[in-house]
């Protein structure tokens, strides 16, 4: 019997998932996605989203691309996977109401995939599971209020988990990560 082979799409999903799993296991460390730009968001959507779950994105082209997955398009209040290639100030209202799970099922919470610039801009120091002591990263292209909004929304174990995407690079920011702004 021949060993079954991955289709090109399955391989892309596997590479994407592996990057996401490593990103979440080591918050703040960059991982490589198989695609760049908007295609990186599509790759994450293909790897995670299907007709058993739901998504939201304010980006029309991305919404059209994710229709193929068969997932339901829901409001930011309900959608489990939310994609923001560019996070503008008006989207912060979406993040404020995004599902954070409940105490019995904290996993029923949103996963946010957010575009940004990695390596420039304000420095933040990350601590928590997956980080040996602390790691410093520079993140730009996010609204100034993003970090305070995250801190305000997060009541561990409730909260949403974030993947920060820049080009073909991704950084994981699970709810366990404590973020401190460095002046």
């Amino acid at each position: 019997m021949a060993v079954p082979l991955m289709s090109p799409q399955e391989e892309r999903n596997h590479v994407t998932f592996t990057a996401l799993m490593r990103a979440l296991s080591h918050p703040g460390r960059e991982q490589r996605l198989p695609d760049t730009g908007l295609a990186a968001f599509v790759a994450i959507g293909d790897a995670l989203v299907d007709l058993e779950t739901s998504y939201y994105t304010p980006h029309d082209a991305l919404a059209a691309a994710l229709v193929r997955t068969g997932a339901r398009f829901l409001s930011p209040l309900q959608a489990r996977y939310q994609f923001y290639p560019q996070l503008h100030d008006q989207h912060l209202d979406h993040l404020r109401v995004a599902p954070t799970g409940d105490y019995v099922a904290p996993e029923d919470s949103a996963t946010l995939v957010v575009g940004c610039v990695i390596g420039s801009g304000p420095a933040v120091e990350l601590r928590g599971p997956g980080i040996r002591s602390a790691i410093e990263v520079r993140i730009d292209g996010l609204p100034a209020a993003f970090w305070s909004l995250r801190a305000g929304t997060l009541r561990y174990p409730l909260g949403w988990d974030v993947f920060l995407v820049a080009g073909d690079r991704v950084i994981g920011l699970p709810r366990t990560t404590r973020v401190e702004m460095i002046e």
């Binding site: 060993v3 289709s7 998932f17 080591h26 904290p106 997956g130």
Partner: protein
């Protein structure tokens, strides 16, 4: 575009046996499990050609994360060569094309039933533990709905009471395998029925641990560098199994977790339970070049995180 271009070549099975929907669901759950260390995430637990209770939980996780470039080690109670481990390893290799090994240093994915390797795992390696019963509260609260509410409230009072009763009645903690731990100062977690000897290995580990119970349809995770503390009192401490004075008859290893083998004359002889490690020690003794990694416990029985295991003074009662 022709039909031939759209159609995939016929295959007997999907890659990694599970179809893409099944894998995607397990993958979504794995990511949430990593984000909430120690919290049991429900998942669908698909049918496999292996009965539930025989490692299907670990198997589904391994099949969902493995790619053709991975190197997989499968162990059962420390042994690479037991029937269960051999069958799971052969199935994984046939369905994913991964290479297999018995060397913990070479493996990228280690699926294990009830043991962690003696050699320290490193960053990037994934330990997949098979879990028969994911609920650490089962002994004190058999109703799973109530147990989930207790996890939600972080109400582990009954657990502490049980621990106290053990000390009162027996003078020591009587829990052997699957000694409950608190992960990231929040969730009480069953580390799967690993011996107490292995429990400290999860604390601030470099590797990612994924635990999965196929029959109970729950999976959970311990990310790298995460606090994992066995429950203990301020004055009565968690202790690992005493391996002092036991020498592995095959390799001469000391202060490793030993299997006791009864002898016809009523005495005991000992063999280190981690067969991959024993194999490497034996090869080194023969003069073969072999790379043996640092172990969690050194030959004096000292754990590699100083101060994590506390010496119990004999008159604590």
């Amino acid at each position: 575009m022709t039909l031939a271009e759209l159609a995939r070549p016929a295959q007997d099975y999907s890659y990694a046996f599970l179809d893409e929907f099944a894998k995607r669901e397990v993958r979504r759950r794995i990511l949430k499990a990593i984000a909430i260390p120690g919290h049991q995430v429900p998942y669908a637990s698909r049918e496999l050609p292996i009965a539930r209770g025989w490692g299907t939980g670990g198997l589904q996780v391994t099949l969902s994360i493995a790619g053709p470039h991975d190197i997989v080690k499968v162990i059962d109670q420390g042994a690479d060569d037991s029937v269960n481990a051999v069958n799971l390893r052969r199935f994984i290799a046939r369905m994913t094309g991964v290479a297999t090994t018995s060397d913990a240093q070479l493996a990228t994915i280690i699926q294990s039933r009830h043991r962690i390797t003696e050699e320290r795992l490193r960053e990037g390696q994934v330990l997949v533990l098979q879990v028969p019963d994911p609920e650490p509260l089962r002994a004190v609260e058999p109703n799973i709905s109530l147990a989930r509410e207790m996890h939600a409230d972080a109400d582990y009072a009954l657990m502490w009471l049980g621990l106290y009763e053990q000390v009162v009645r027996f003078g020591t903690f009587m829990t052997g395998a699957s000694y409950p731990v608190v992960v990231h100062q929040r969730y009480l977690m069953s580390p799967s029925p690993i011996p107490r000897w292995d429990t400290p290995m999860l604390h601030q580990a470099a590797h990612l641990t994924l635990l999965s119970a196929g029959r109970e349809k729950r999976l959970y995770a311990v990310p790298p560098y995460t606090d994992v503390r066995p429950i203990e009192f301020e004055d009565v401490f968690f202790q690992v199994e005493n391996q002092q004075g036991r020498i592995c008859e095959q390799s001469g290893a000391v202060n490793k977790f030993m299997n006791e083998i009864p002898q016809p004359d009523g005495s005991m002889c000992y063999q280190a339970s981690d067969t991959g490690y024993v194999e490497k020690l034996v090869r080194r003794a023969r003069g073969e070049p072999v790379a043996i990694g640092a172990t969690y416990y050194d030959d004096d029985g000292t754990f590699y995180h100083p101060g994590y295991l506390k010496e119990q003074e004999p008159d604590h009662r």
